[in-house]
């Protein structure tokens, strides 16, 4: 097999088709990165809108706005959209834009594959959400209503929304795998002369581990949903107890992918944090080597802890104890990362521009995610917290505060590099404070609700939960509406603003800041030499 490599040397001037055709056919890593990021932003609002409907329903006890079936569809599709169509494409967009700039490569290694990887996403997102529209016209009974986890036997019995979601997950998976292969090949083969693996920027390291995790675990999810599909339509009994199968097997297969998926979403963010912290502390990154080994350790541990997601299905005690301790062991390398991040800031000349605010907010809130995760990893305590709102609050601290606020950190940090303009610092700071306050307003009450025993994924609740749910809904709406500031700030930054210098931030280090802002359409045609 031979894969065509970049042909940019043949184009001395910027030379590409204009209009829509440019975006359909582009193989340029910056164009594709931009498309990934815009797609992610759009889907962030789509997924957000779904969950605001859910929060509106939960504002008061009783059923006011929707039927339980529709509620079930909203929560599952919200999660699938946010994970597969918002967070993962955002991280891939970062990788496309920044990895070639950071490692001194002229483009990604496999530009055509890159284009294909992006253009699979819109059809997949359409497949995921189309059943909502079809139901309006009386076709089928709406989108997948099993929650994002597809648990059998519910998913075996579900309506056509499940089939749509299975196919969407297949396509999203293929797209992610292609992106991962591209990133690994780029990092291994296209680094500038002199850039050894231990001089690789931490963002690239984080993505490298993510890419390997994706290749090792996404096929397992693809296999599991394929079995689900054949169970539904072709008479197999992988998950059908009546046919000698086992529904619990599905949970093992799903979480064998699902737990590494958490780190797949977070490792790119952990990789970019040290860059931001070092820049605004005006100090070199503390503990580069420790962080690299921390990433690797977390990547390895993440594939052997999956069963802590279903401690309550009935496992032998030795298995429970194994999964409990292996899960808790992840906190060791994670603590190493936290201490490195804090030590990077220690005694630095810190300033608090928007990216730094988001980075510090990330450290505090993601720390809460980690600590509440330790509670859930405790087998004895988990029997109480399992499937409660405590879990919901915990993973939103991990994936909103850890994932999405991490992505926002990166967006504010690199926006001047991408657009050549500075965004509005005043709006950015307002966005940060509104986000962080309303986020906590939304999710702190959910910890209490969970401790008090409110189950997740239920559209109605007992009267004693009313106050906390009302507070949570108010918080969620402020959180949702303040994200419009984010979109507006990005939009006005793209349109214009104060000119950004090549080194947009005073303390920024790295190859990407050697190029002009915005970088030329073809960059690093002559590779820099790293000493």
């Amino acid at each position: 097999m031979s894969i065509a490599t970049t042909v940019h040397g043949e184009h001395p001037a910027e030379h590409y088709p204009g209009g829509l055709l440019r975006w359909l056919t582009t193989t340029n890593h910056k164009d594709i990165g931009t498309m990934y990021l815009l797609f992610s932003l759009v889907m962030f609002f789509v997924g957000g809108l779904m969950i605001l409907l859910v929060r509106a329903e939960l504002f008061q006890p009783g059923l006011q706005l929707m039927k339980p079936e529709f509620f079930n569809q909203l929560i599952g599709v919200h999660a699938l959209v946010m994970i597969f169509a918002a967070l993962m494409p955002a991280a891939t967009g970062f990788a496309n834009w920044m990895i070639p700039l950071m490692i001194g490569a002229p483009d990604m290694a496999l530009p055509r594959l890159n284009n294909w990887g992006f253009w699979l996403l819109p059809p997949a997102a359409t497949l995921l959400t189309l059943p909502f529209v079809l139901a309006l016209f009386g076709v089928g009974d709406g989108a997948i209503a099993t929650g994002w986890t597809f648990y059998a036997p519910l998913s075996v019995q579900g309506g056509l929304g499940v089939d749509f979601a299975i196919l969407a997950v297949h396509i999203l998976g293929i797209s992610s795998i292609m992106g991962s292969i591209n990133i690994i090949v780029t990092i291994f083969n296209m680094r500038a002369p002199g850039m050894t693996m231990m001089k690789l920027p931490l963002f690239a390291w984080g993505w490298l581990i993510t890419a390997f995790l994706l290749i090792a675990t996404l096929p397992v999810l693809a296999g599991a949903v394929t079995m689900l599909l054949t169970d539904r339509h072709f008479g197999t009994h992988f998950f059908d107890a009546a046919g000698g199968g086992d529904p619990i097997l599905f949970q093992h297969l799903f979480w064998f992918f699902g737990h590494p998926e958490v780190y797949i979403l977070l490792l790119p963010v952990w990789g970019l944090m040290p860059h931001v912290l070092a820049t605004f502390s005006r100090k070199p990154t503390y503990g580069y080597t420790a962080q690299v080994y921390g990433f690797i350790a977390i990547g390895l541990l993440s594939v052997i802890v999956w069963a802590h997601h279903f401690f309550t299905v009935g496992m032998p005690v030795p298995a429970l104890i194994y999964f409990m301790f292996s899960t808790m062991a992840i906190s060791v390398p994670l603590a190493v990362l936290f201490f490195c991040w804090i030590a990077t800031m220690w005694k630095g000349s810190m300033t608090f521009e928007t990216p730094m605010l988001f980075a510090v907010g990330f450290i505090v809130l993601f720390g809460i995610a980690g600590l509440t995760g330790l509670v859930l990893a405790d087998v004895a305590a988990d029997a109480q917290y399992h499937h409660s709102y405590f879990v919901v609050a915990h993973f939103h601290y991990a994936l909103f505060a850890g994932g999405i606020m991490g992505v926002m950190t990166g967006v504010y940090y690199w926006l001047p590099k991408w657009t050549g303009h500075m965004y509005s610092e005043r709006l950015g700071k307002l966005h940060f404070w509104l986000t962080v306050v309303s986020f906590n307003l939304t999710f702190i009450p959910q910890f209490f609700l969970g401790l008090a025993g409110m189950p997740r994924r239920i559209p109605d609740y007992a009267l004693q939960f009313a106050e906390f749910n009302a507070i949570s809904t108010v918080g969620a709406f402020i959180l949702g509406i303040s994200q419009l500031l984010f979109a507006w700030n990005i939009w006005s930054c793209v349109r214009g603003g104060p000119k950004a210098e090549a080194r947009a931030w005073e303390g920024a280090e790295g190859l990407e800041w050697e190029l002009s802002s915005p970088p030329p359409h073809h960059s690093w045609e002559t590779q820099p030499v790293v000493k």
Binding site: T6, V185, N189, L221, M227, G235, A241, F256
Partner: protein, 199 residues
């Protein structure tokens, strides 16, 4: 622009290796299906009951391996019985004994009352599960209506017997065991039920 650019790299070797990893991961998902069955039989993971054979022990009696009685009169275990009729089977079932205090090692017999509520003959298959999982491998069914498919005529009710031993090796921490049956309809092509049961 004719600068000293390195010759275009050949990425195909690395890509091939990554594709092998990809294929291995996909194959691993399907390999997990038999591996999981082996694991369940070995550990009682997931409530599979031990009766000397793999799988659910469907079909035929396991009469030849009745263990010598070795009763542990030093302690008692409460065994609770429950059952569910799955959608698609027009039956109802209830245990005639709801719970039973036994000494580990004692041979016990209980039965379920199962009734066909429709006006046509229907065949069903019961699938057992034992909770907690670590007791499952020490829960030995000597005779069980779940060993075979059961056919009930229109409106017929039948007592379905079950003989079992909780082996004395069962963990001392275990004081309660629940035996639960799910009765499934056999209409259609549920032939895989009898796999591996030629004895």
């Amino acid at each position: 622009m004719e600068q000293a650019r390195p010759a275009p790299l050949d990425h195909s070797r690395l890509i091939r290796r990554l594709l092998v990893l990809l294929a291995a991961a996909f194959a691993f998902a399907f390999a997990l299906v038999p591996l999981y069955n082996v694991l369940c039989d070995a550990t009682g993971f997931n409530g599979r009951t031990g009766n000397g054979r793999s799988g659910f022990g469907v079909g035929g009696l396991a009469g030849s391996n009745v263990p010598a009685p070795r009763v542990d009169t030093g302690r008692r275990v409460r065994v609770e019985f429950t059952g569910t009729v799955m959608p698609g089977l027009p039956w109802d079932m209830r245990p005639l004994t709801v719970d039973l205090d036994i000494h580990p090692g004692e041979l016990q017999q209980v039965s379920y009352l199962v009734r066909n509520t429709s006006n046509r003959p229907v065949t069903g298959q019961a699938v057992p599960s034992v909770t907690p999982g670590q007791a499952a491998q020490h829960f030995e069914k000597i005779e069980c209506f779940c060993f075979e498919q059961q056919t009930l005529g229109p409106g017929e009710a039948r007592e379905m017997p079950l003989a079992f031993i909780v082996k004395p090796e069962v963990d001392r921490d275990i004081t309660h065991i629940t035996l639960s049956y799910a009765f499934f309809s056999i209409e259609g092509q549920r032939q895989t039920l009898t796999r591996g049961d030629t004895d």
